[in-house]
């Protein structure tokens, strides 16, 4: 992997910003509330510290995992704290979902699908590459267990992961989520080449 300089990182951050902006708009249309987001962090994280970043390994969350297919490979993991995922479901299904039903699970997967698709289509359009999300899959469990899949995928390559992370929230503040994009080993090169050819 080519080393990224500060201006490359800025560019990736900006791309991510626009992508997540579209995703937030899509979510806001879905739930009928305004959705805000924080400026995305583009960072290199130590894999072993990810569960702690999310509030401790045993914290219960809903995780929606999608693989990124097409010209660049990678994965998207959306993590909603348990109370946020329930708030999201009750907003969309107009009823309390306790425990998590089949319908509630599909709802969360669909939210993940909409966010990931919005994000990837923006990124793909801007870079002239094809990025397609796989079928989403859901786990409602301890965050340590939920992030394992990503840690193992990335752990075969190294101990640190290049992560695009953002947090979005609705204006009443009872729904929060974390969005992680984890580029596969060769994807950063593909993205940087695409940026290079755009800038001619």
């Amino acid at each position: 992997m080519k080393r990224l300089n500060e201006s490359d990182l800025d560019f990736l951050r900006e791309l991510s910003n626009i992508g997540v902006g579209h995703a937030a708009t899509a979510l806001s249309q879905l739930i009928g509330r305004q959705v805000g987001m924080r400026v995305p962090k583009v960072s290199i994280v130590d894999l072993a510290s990810v569960p702690e970043l999310m509030g401790g390994s045993e914290k219960i969350v809903s995780g929606v995992y999608l693989q990124v297919l097409g010209d660049a490979r990678g994965a998207i993991l959306l993590i909603f704290p348990d109370d946020s995922s329930r708030a999201l479901i009750s907003l969309l299904l107009k009823r309390v979902d306790e425990p998590l039903s089949e319908m509630g699970a599909s709802t969360l997967k669909e939210v993940g699908n909409i966010l990931a698709s919005a994000y990837l289509s923006v990124l793909g359009n801007m870079l002239d590459i094809t990025l397609i999300p796989s079928i989403p899959s859901l786990a409602h469990d301890m965050v340590g267990a939920v992030v394992d899949i990503v840690l193992s995928d990335l752990g075969e390559i190294g101990d640190t992961a290049f992560v695009f992370e953002t947090e979005f929230y609705d204006m009443t503040n009872d729904i929060k989520g974390h969005f992680f994009l984890l580029p596969g080993p060769d994807s950063i090169d593909v993205i940087m080449r695409a940026i290079g050819s755009k800038n001619g």
């Binding site: 072993a48 899959s137 409602h140 301890m142 267990a145 939920v146 840690l151 075969e156 190294g158």
Partner: protein, 165 residues
């Protein structure tokens, strides 16, 4: 009670009456080794089956093969003997159903299989196992009596006791 926390891709060794604990195992596997005479035990939390196929080794303790041998060597340096050891393991779940990965076995299954091979190589008997399925687990290993507690959102707390210990 003395609780020693084992982080992902790491191991810890302690002696009775301490408890070794590791949180939030998904596809990862926790391996507890226990010397029945010294009542000393080790617990490791591995992420990947084998160091041989990896592109970058990085922290080698994420691999089952390396982590188990390092832990074992460390235990033997502290007076344990592999011939008196028993093992209990937990984890190795398949957290997400991945449609296009169905054909291959999941990383959780591969981790479990790699651990079993490492144990078999050293003739360490596996006396309790709580692995597979699709949910996360926290594992506690009580060195006072050799109990393994597996705590999960779905299944509550399960105790794996062996009266012989």
């Amino acid at each position: 009670m003395d609780k020693v926390v084992v982080r992902i891709a790491d191991y810890r060794i302690a002696e009775a009456p301490a408890t070794l604990v590791t949180y939030g195992l998904g596809s990862c596997v926790a391996v507890a080794l226990y010397d029945t005479e010294t009542r000393m035990g080790g617990l490791c939390h591995i992420m990947l089956p084998s160091s041989s196929k990896a592109r970058d080794s990085g922290n080698p303790k994420k691999f089952a093969d390396i982590c188990i041998s390092e832990m074992l060597e460390d235990m033997e340096n502290r007076g344990c003997n592999v011939d008196r050891m028993v093992a209990k393991i937990a984890g190795g779940a398949r957290m997400f159903d991945l449609p296009n990965k169905e054909k291959s076995s999941s990383i959780g299954e591969r981790n479990r299989d790699a651990v079993l091979i490492e144990l078999a190589k050293r003739r360490i008997p596996l006396i309790a196992e709580d692995t597979g399925e699709n949910y996360g687990r926290t594992m506690e290993f009580h060195l006072g009596n050799g109990d393994m507690l597996v705590i999960s959102l779905r299944g509550g707390t399960k105790v794996y006791r062996d009266e012989a210990l």
